[in-house]
């Protein structure tokens, strides 16, 4: 499994029945009392209460990524990360694609192909839900492609910019 930027080797070593499960995480044993709830699981590990709701991740339907909602933080987990690894389009060190996070209208494009951009530099302004919102570069790099023009309406997920 992959979570928080690293891989975990998880194995189920015993499920003796009832609600007790024995896991190993990176070789270390973990005993879990697991119950299903209306939204996910109620877990007990060494007396500690872990309430975890589960929803499908962004890529969940096809790739087995789920989001685990702990009471105050949500953590995406790729359940079968080993198998999927080669397929992901996210390479922190390679090409990065900026897509429209919601339907809206492009107000301004702040970069051109070939521009050098810094981490978190604004690259596109999109208007949605009555507000203008800046989209920023998720990494430093060079603009490889600008796929939209100002004034264009865009759907959620539409490719806007490619940085490499």
């Amino acid at each position: 499994m992959e979570a928080g930027g690293r891989l975990f080797k998880v194995a189920l070593t015993a499920a003796p029945g009832g609600h007790a499960l024995a896991l190993t995480i990176d070789g270390a044993p973990v005993a879990v009392d697991a119950r299903e709830t209306s939204s996910g699981y109620s877990l007990l590990v060494d007396g500690r209460v872990i309430e975890a709701a589960i929803t499908d991740g962004v890529q969940g339907r096809t790739s087995g990524e789920v989001v685990v909602h702990l009471p105050s933080v949500s953590v995406p987990v790729a359940i079968d990360a080993g198998r999927r690894r080669g397929k992901t389009t996210r390479h922190a060190d390679g090409e990065q694609r900026i897509v429209a996070p919601m339907p809206g209208r492009i107000v301004r494009v702040l970069v051109q192909p070939g521009d050098l951009v810094e981490l978190r530099q604004p690259v596109v302004v999109i208007e949605a839900m009555k507000m203008e919102n800046e989209l920023r570069a998720p990494k430093a790099g060079t603009i490889k492609e600008v796929a939209v023009e100002p004034g264009a309406p865009v759907e959620a997920g539409r490719l806007l910019i490619v940085i490499e």
């Binding site: 499994m1 979570a3 928080g4 690293r6 975990f8 998880v10 189920l12 499920a15 029945g17 009832g18 609600h19 499960l21 896991l23 995480i25 973990v30 879990v32 697991a34 299903e36 709830t37 209306s38 939204s39 996910g40 699981y41 877990l43 590990v45 872990i50 975890a52 709701a53 589960i54 929803t55 499908d56 969940g60 339907r61 789920v66 989001v67 685990v68 909602h69 702990l70 009471p71 105050s72 933080v73 949500s74 953590v75 987990v77 359940i79 079968d80 996070p101 919601m102 339907p103 809206g104 978190r120 949605a128 839900m129 009555k130 507000m131 919102n133 800046e134 989209l135 920023r136």
Partner: protein
């Protein structure tokens, strides 16, 4: 008697609840994307009013009046936003024989003009921020503009007469920036409000935004309430509101309340309204503007005074005399804090995060009030503001209110869309919040200095817990796929809850 609620989301739910409490029938309206909105489901009746864009539905006066006729509603509550401060709508209601639950069209018109409102305040003897006495003429000369700027002094603000929500507003640090700022503010105001007029106002250094709630009746009574502290703003939008303010002494409170009431009385104001002030470090206050409607943040006032403002809006509209004890309205009991839970991703510069709410867990128990507008399963539309709910907490003291807010936020969970909840958990941990040491620019300054760090810090322990949960989930799916009765784990799958959950996952794969 029926009340048409010409609004949507949480405020429409809030009004429907008040109607039910008062024995009034609530009539909701909905645009095509809002049929499943909670405000429809919470009402007694509901009628469609058109396409999702607000101008085709919630801003369409003819359609609203048509629903009033069709349903037999005799009162119209506008909520906030949309047509709440639209004098033409108030007029149209009156012409149609409907009782508008709000001030008169004249009051809305007068106070909707920033300069006219300013004049009214001056006439009532209320201090205003030094500024130009009138907006600039269309062809005002550069020399005149610069002379006015010099008279007021820098830094100053250029403001649109018809402005609101930070639009048509520019901050000017020095003389050299003034002419350009006047021009851009004017053109922004022209396109946003259809009125290009702007004026100048001195910019106070690190002021607080303090506002006084009012309620007036049709018999000449105006009651002012204890102040609300609304200085925590992001880009001129309120984010957290509380009551009372730690910076307002009893003496200042009385003075502000008297000023606010005298402005309202001078214009014959009826129903709910709010006068906004700026407060400087010396506890001197200046009239800013009047909002001629119920505010988003009205619950904090209700929680510290015990007075239901929406009940009174309806009662006053029906002609009742205000019988609120003025002493009680001005005396805060304990402390209340409101957080606007919005479908925005704080980690992406508060980018709107529309989408379907897959799961919703709302805090309960002592001292917690949730004014929600969204039910589990609802698809938050992209067409309107994305307020999911207002979480309001009350405590004996500000300290207890903050403790309670922390507890309530730990219980609150919205799944499926990003929300401002992680931001509020972060805010709670800021020393300036704990000590109430902030001003209207504080939050923007702090956010700028954070440089995009995530608001919810995910610890190694969190990641490990998530991996454990995901492992349990994977095992659950595998047992399910293996026929629902894997011998290794006979107890799974025997519960309806289990079946349902597994079935859902199957359905989504």
């Amino acid at each position: 008697m029926k009340v048409l609620i010409a609004n949507r989301g949480e405020i429409a739910v809030r009004v429907a609840r008040a109607c039910r409490e008062l024995g009034l029938t609530s009539v909701a309206v909905y645009s095509d994307c809002d049929r499943e909105s909670l405000h429809v489901r919470a009402a007694d009746e509901a009628y469609p009013i058109g396409a999702p864009p607000a101008r085709e539905s919630y801003l369409n006066i003819e359609k609203l009046l048509d629903v009033a006729r069709r349903s037999g509603a005799t009162l119209v509550h506008p909520g906030y936003g949309f047509l709440a401060e639209n004098a033409a709508f108030a007029d149209a209601c009156a012409s149609a024989g409907l009782t508008f639950v709000g001030p008169s069209a004249e009051s809305i018109r007068l106070m909707g003009s920033k300069t006219a409102a300013r004049d009214a305040a001056i006439a009532a003897g209320v201090p205003v921020v030094p500024g130009t006495d009138a907006p600039f003429e269309a062809g005002a000369s550069d020399a005149h503009i610069l002379a006015e700027g010099d008279r007021i002094g820098f830094p100053l603000l250029v403001k649109a007469v018809a402005g609101g929500g930070g639009k048509g507003m520019r901050s000017v640090a020095s003389r050299g920036e003034l002419l350009a700022a006047v021009r851009t503010a004017g053109s922004e105001a022209a396109s946003a409000f259809g009125d290009a007029s702007v004026f100048l106002e001195r910019r106070l250094i690190n002021p607080r935004h303090i506002e006084i709630q009012l309620m007036g009746d049709h018999h000449g009574t105006v009651v002012p309430f204890v102040e609300r502290e609304c200085s925590i703003q992001r880009r001129h939008q309120k984010v957290v509101e509380e009551s009372p303010s730690t910076r307002v002494s009893a003496k200042t409170r009385t003075a502000m309340a008297e000023c606010a009431a005298s402005v309202a009385r001078s214009v014959g104001y009826a129903n709910a309204g709010t006068i906004e002030f700026l407060l400087d470090d010396d506890e001197k206050f200046y009239f800013l503007e009047m909002n001629t409607r119920l505010q988003v943040e009205h619950p904090v006032t209700e929680m510290v005074t015990g007075i239901d403002l929406v009940h009174w809006q309806l009662r006053v509209a029906l002609g009742e005399k205000l019988t609120i004890d003025p002493e009680r309205a001005l005396t805060p009991r304990g402390h209340a804090i409101e957080c606007r839970v919005i479908a925005e991703d704080p980690d992406q510069g508060f980018l709107p995060s529309p989408g379907r709410v897959l799961g919703l867990q709302v805090p309960q128990g002592p001292g917690v009030r949730d004014d929600g507008g969204v039910a589990e399963g609802f698809e938050i539309p992209v067409f309107y503001d994305s307020l999911i709910a207002k979480l309001v907490v009350w405590g004996e003291s500000r300290e207890v209110a903050i403790q309670r807010l922390g507890r309530a936020l730990s219980e609150y969970q919205v799944r499926g869309v990003r929300t401002t909840l992680p931001f509020f958990r972060w805010l709670l941990a800021q020393p300036e919040f704990a000590s109430a040491d902030f001003h209207t620019a504080w939050l923007d300054e702090v956010l700028a200095s954070r440089n995009g760090e995530p608001f919810a810090a995910v610890s190694d322990a969190d990641v490990r817990d998530a991996v454990i949960a995901a492992a349990v989930h994977a095992h659950r799916l595998a047992s399910q796929a293996g026929g629902g009765g894997a011998a290794s784990n006979p107890s799974y799958g025997t519960r309806p809850g289990g079946w349902r959950h597994a079935a859902r996952l199957d359905g989504l794969r």
